[in-house]
């Protein structure tokens, strides 16, 4: 029995949709879980709110809490004007959170464990900030690279750092989410694999010894639940902070 902690990240085409140039566009397991996440979110947000109860039930409470949670995050970090981007940030948060949570279920696939997905989302945020910032503030948007109150002789250095950090934002934004999900799932797989390896190679003693990695796997799963939510939250709050730059470029 071979334990391959990387195998879970394999992209397996289920059927081919079409071709763009010489690239085959396939409906993959990743696509399946993306649409599953969208379906779960829709079910939660629309099905949960279907009864429109004055005193919410469980599902409606979850839907309303998600709404209030994201709304208060935006209001506290980007101000009332940030509510313009509420649907975007809500979609990002829910998509990442729900797909991460689905990914913890054994034998499923984690959408955000692929750098291309997190990078696409990060660049979506990056270009939203860039385009909206320039559209709204014109030339003043570039003030975000010139912090006020910095002595003139170190201003070039500060500006260089500010510009560099601005353009590195999508990298850190995407790699943070990707690496957390990837590392967490590899760790889970490795520890879970120890249980089977010990059992197979050492027999009864191994199965008893396997209790330790099993306990660790359980603990790691709990940790991954936290990480799944936390990374979605971090992604959303960073989006809010970046958007705040576009809305109020003056610092």
């Amino acid at each position: 029995m071979k334990i391959d902690p990387i195998h879970q990240f394999n992209i397996e085409p289920l059927f081919t949709i079409g071709h763009i140039g010489n690239q085959t566009i396939a409906f993959t397991n990743s696509s399946l879980y993306m649409f599953l996440s969208v379906a779960v979110i829709s079910l939660l947000m629309i099905g949960g709110m279907a009864k429109r109860q004055l005193v919410p039930g469980r599902l409606q409470s979850i839907a309303e809490i998600s709404y209030e949670f994201v709304a208060s995050t935006i209001r506290s970090t980007a101000g009332a004007e940030g509510m313009k981007f509420f649907p975007l940030i809500f979609s990002l948060f829910m998509f990442i959170c729900i797909s991460n949570l689905i990914g913890i279920i054994p034998y499923t696939f984690t959408v955000s464990s692929h750098i291309i997905v997190t990078a696409a989302l990060a660049f979506l945020v990056f270009f939203t900030v860039l385009i909206y910032g320039i559209y709204k503030n014109g030339f003043k948007f570039f003030k975000i690279f010139v912090p006020s109150g910095v002595p003139i002789y170190i201003l070039p250095l500060v500006m260089f750092i500010e510009i560099l950090s601005f353009f590195l934002r999508p990298v850190s934004h995407s790699v943070r989410l990707f690496a957390n999900m990837l590392a967490g799932h590899i760790a889970l797989k490795v520890f879970a694999g120890f249980v089977a390896m010990l059992g197979v190679s050492l027999g009864a003693v191994g199965w008893i010894g396997g209790v330790l990695p099993l306990a660790l796997t359980v603990a790691l799963t709990a940790l991954e639940l936290l990480v799944a939510f936390l990374q979605a939250y971090v992604f959303a709050i960073l989006t809010c902070i970046y958007l705040n730059d576009a809305i109020h470029p003056g610092h």
């Binding site: 993959t28 429109r52 979609s91 692929h114």
Partner: protein
């Protein structure tokens, strides 16, 4: 930490070589994933912005309105009960003062009547007293004149016994008068 994990991932990818490789860096799958992501995320965005969020917002607004309406109704009822209590209290105070006024008036009236009655009674008593005094005086006068007659008779009798002859009536009565005066 993120950078480190990224480095590890890259290393693993390099180790994987050309065949198989590290799935997250398998560039041949990128196009498929991007197309799916775009379709899924746009669908999610449309669902969220057109249906889900307005619906949640309307429910939360409706709840907020219901709460505010209920609070306003409660406040209105409370104001009404406060006003009623105030009206009751002023009514009670005015009734109390009216009762006091009526009491005072009655007391004064009764006092005045009693005073008048007392006065007439006193006047009556005074006239009766005066009449009685007059009568007593008349009676005494009569009694005194009788006494004079008796004294004169007695004096005449004494003088007759002593002298043996009846004295002049005029002289006796003069002497009695003088003695009565003295």
């Amino acid at each position: 930490m993120a950078e480190k994990s990224h480095g590890t991932g890259a290393h693993t990818g390099a180790d994987g070589g050309h065949g198989g490789g590290f799935p997250p860096f398998e560039s041949s799958t990128f196009a498929s994933q991007l197309v799916s992501l775009v379709i899924a995320f746009v669908a999610l965005y449309v669902i969220v912005s057109r249906i889900a969020l307005p619906r949640v917002e309307s429910v939360i607004d409706a709840r907020q309105n219901a709460i505010e309406g209920d609070l306003a109704a409660a406040q209105k009822l409370k104001d009404e009960s406060d006003a009623a209590l105030k009206a009751y209290e002023t009514e009670l105070a005015s009734a109390r003062s009216r009762a006091q006024a009526i009491g005072n008036e009655t007391r004064e009236k009764l006092n005045a009547a009693a005073e008048a009655e007392r006065k007439t009674l006193e006047d009556q008593l005074a006239t009766k007293l005066a009449a009685a005094e007059k009568q007593i005086a008349a009676t005494r006068e009569a009694a005194m004149s009788n006494v004079r007659g008796i004294a004169a008779d007695a004096a005449g009798a004494i003088v007759q016994r002593l002298t043996g002859e009846l004295p002049d009536k005029k002289t006796v009565s003069k002497a009695v008068d003088a003695s009565l005066k003295g």
